[in-house]
């Protein structure tokens, strides 16, 4: 009887390799979704500051527009907007958002927390 035989090893290897491959596949998908959501929030901030450009617009117009865009293109539970503010800074309007992008494997990877910003010069 050989004690160092490899019988059955290929099966174990197959199962382990498949499990790791699927895990990696899900992590890659998570990364892609996170990148989409980051782009969506950036786009929302751009839309927000554009809504705040007219001389008659207020910071609230910017924030409302940005929230609307986030809801419309990145709604659901995978992105959480902790804070979204629009403030006037001289002749500019600046939108800032603190967001958390949920991890699909919280035990392996924490949520991705980001602070994003957009700004534009206001009409005079």
């Amino acid at each position: 009887m050989r004690r160092d035989g490899e019988a059955g090893f290929t099966t174990i290897q197959y199962v382990v390799a498949t499990a790791f491959s699927l895990l990696l596949f899900v992590l890659v998908a998570n990364l892609l979704v996170d990148l989409y959501e980051r782009g969506a929030v950036r786009d929302a901030l751009d839309e927000g500051v554009r809504a705040g450009i007219p001389i008659s617009a207020s910071g609230d117009d910017c924030a409302v527009r940005a929230h609307d865009v986030v809801r419309s293109i990145a709604g659901g539970s995978s992105v959480r907007v902790d804070e979204l503010t629009c403030v006037r800074d001289g002749d500019r309007i600046v939108a800032t958002a603190r967001v958390a992008l949920h991890s699909w494997f919280p035990m392996l990877l924490p949520d991705w927390r980001l602070t994003l910003r957009a700004s534009a010069h206001r009409e005079r």
């Binding site: 090893f9 290929t10 290897q13 990696l24 990148l35 751009d46 700004s119 010069h121």
Partner: protein, 135 residues
């Protein structure tokens, strides 16, 4: 002597699978979204720079438009060193166009801050000076 032993094959297969399948996929997945993000950043930067020039016409300052474009690019996570802004036209007269080109450096292959090779994408924005705009 056996000519078809499989000793060590599992280890070799594992290394080859990672090198030939896994790494290329990871690098591609990390690189291609950045192309889309940077393309979008260039488009928005060119648009905002052109809007700044139109807003300040006829005293629009190309240097200020460059700063606007760089600031927008920075908001999108792109370093100023990766952005080249050109202003082919500041809008010489009413009815003419303000034209801004923003050339952005794209990593050919990149994961995070590591990048190998590069190519360039140019976004162009043009805005018309209103025909009845007062000076």
């Amino acid at each position: 002597m056996r000519g078809a032993r499989a000793d060590g094959f599992v280890a070799i297969e594992w290394v080859a699978a990672i090198a030939l399948l896994l790494l290329p996929i990871v690098v591609l997945v990390a690189t291609m979204p950045e192309w889309a993000e940077r393309k979008h950043a260039a488009t928005v930067a060119a648009r905002e720079a052109a809007r700044d020039l139109v807003e300040n016409w006829p005293n629009g300052n190309p240097a200020a438009a460059v700063l606007v474009a760089q600031e927008v690019a920075a908001d999108h996570g792109v370093d100023a060193a990766d952005v080249v802004v050109r202003v082919p036209s500041v809008g010489e007269s009413r009815g003419s166009d303000v034209v801004v080109d923003v050339e952005i450096t794209m990593p050919a292959l990149g994961v995070g801050r590591m990048a190998v090779g590069s190519w360039h994408y140019t976004a162009r924005a043009s805005r018309r000076i209103d025909d009845f705009r007062s000076r």
